[in-house]
């Protein structure tokens, strides 16, 4: 394998780690992303130096995130994978996943706190504090709701490309490229 590919894969490993994913995921995506033809599981094992089990597990996570696709070959029992080349779709996949898993949970957690506060209000000897806390929690709730909307808006764009990005206030700076 080329020296450059090795270095690239190592970079993907770092990036995956930084975004809270297993390093192996980054490594495997790097393998597939830089292959001009579909890659089998064994090839990934060779190129990545990871165990077969790890590759098997992680490649399916990548598939769930729509970062790679399985390519079927009639009469071949091996699984071949190709990378989703549109990186903006990749971030969409990740965002979708995270939104489903965590955003709603965070929102409901905050909402529950608000409900509990209402129950406690009557029995409190310090109403001022309660009022303050309710206001704060309410602000955080509306913050989460807005955040969820923003992400939802991004997900609605079927292509997060230059034209879409112009809405992000990017018109201001037009240095390089």
């Amino acid at each position: 394998m080329s020296n450059a590919k090795n270095h690239f894969i190592q970079g993907m490993s770092r990036i995956a780690d930084f975004w809270g994913m297993p390093k192996a995921m980054g490594v495997i995506y790097g393998c597939i992303y830089l292959s001009s033809c579909p890659v089998s599981l064994d090839e990934m094992v060779d190129q990545s130096g990871l165990s077969k089990g790890s590759v098997s597990t992680n490649v399916r996570v990548l598939e769930r995130l729509q970062m790679v696709r399985q390519e079927f070959r009639p009469g071949d029992r091996k699984d071949y994978y190709v990378a989703e080349p549109d990186l903006w779709r990749v971030v969409r996949g990740i965002l979708e996943q995270r939104r489903k898993v965590e955003f709603s949970s965070a929102l409901s957690s905050v909402h529950e706190s608000l409900a509990m506060l209402d129950v406690e209000e009557s029995s409190s000897e310090n109403p001022h504090e309660i009022v303050f806390q309710r206001e704060r929690i309410r602000q955080m709730e509306s913050f989460f709701r807005m955040l969820d909307k923003v992400v939802g808006g991004i997900l609605l764009m079927n292509k997060l490309s230059a034209s879409a990005l112009s809405r992000f206030g990017m018109e201001k700076q037009n240095n390089e490229d």
Copy 2:
């Protein structure tokens, strides 16, 4: 401490964990965020159940991220902290930090791979693969550059509020609130 505050703090712990930060950071921010008056380190220790060392360390990280501010009191040796109430400023602080640390590093890593590919090109027996890889890496490089611009654009807005959000394509959906 109120039952609701406890629940809220637990939620912050989960959220912090999800975003790749120490749980204790979330807990401590929760403590301060829901206090109507500046909080001393000892009070945080009481309310969070964490050790003094952990609180001391994590509260300073929060300060560096501009999620809390120190409030000086003349003639009092204790350190008091108040929370940054504008949650959009909070995400800005976090984004700024992450951009500094990781974005540039990711970009240079990809760029290095590209350079290595150029060196290897001549000595390769498989020029087709090299050409393919160069194209792929180039795409990722331009992706990172764009991503960096987007984040930069967000950071330029001094208030990421409703008016700013309208640029994000949020006009389309106007359900609730």
